[in-house]
């Protein structure tokens, strides 16, 4: 089991209702983590219902859903960026 700081932004944050939380998990990838959270509560399932549009960063670097969580401390999950 590992301890992760999980951050949410934009409408992912709004649907889940909190900007960040500590999660203890043994999910191997971000996908696994998202599946675990979605099974846990409706608000996660709602936030993550369209996995095709969700982006992730591991330790503040853009990553992919299938990237391993081994050694990671901070996971962020958010919609595609719209800056500029």
């Amino acid at each position: 089991m590992k301890q992760l700081e999980v951050l949410y932004f934009a409408w992912v944050r709004e649907r889940i209702g909190i900007p960040k939380e500590q999660i203890t998990t043994d999910a191997a990838t971000v996908s696994d983590l998202i599946a675990e959270l979605s099974a846990r509560e409706e608000r996660y399932a709602l936030a993550f219902q369209d996995m095709a549009v969700v982006k992730v960063a591991i330790d503040q670097t853009l990553s992919t859903l299938d990237a391993p969580l081994e050694g990671a401390r901070e996971i962020a999950i958010f919609p595609p960026m719209t800056g500029g």
Binding site: F9, Q60, L62, P79, M81, T82, G83, G84
Partner: protein, 149 residues
Amino acid sequence: MTVRVQAEDFDLGHEVAQLTLDTNTVGAVVSFIGLVRDTTGGDLLAMELEHYPGMTEQALAAIDAEATKRWSLAGSTVIHRYGHLKTGEQIMMVATASAHRKDAFEAAEFLMDYLKTDAPFWKKEHLKSGSQWVESKKSDEDAKDRWKA
């Protein structure tokens, strides 16, 4: 190479002038500013810019470093604001200085294309009729893809 993420406004003329101080070899400076635009025909009250503190600066710095590697630049500046902005306000700017205009133009376009898709900012429009998150555009992904080798 200057990267700033800030709530405050910026002064384009000042930032461009900084890029040409202490050098006689800059022949071209290209700059871009993005502004809060009302796409609703008068319904927009304000734009809210959310970002991911900690990741933002390093994402912008990485994009800027890549541009500096690809083109011959004498300097570059990227500034992006966050928080509440009114219609017509400046959101962000990039500026690139080079001996030649081709490097300056291409690097500025590259910075914009990558910043749009890779820098962790999200825009929410506050309208008279409610609020909505701005949707990302397929055209922004396409614009980025043209730089891939």
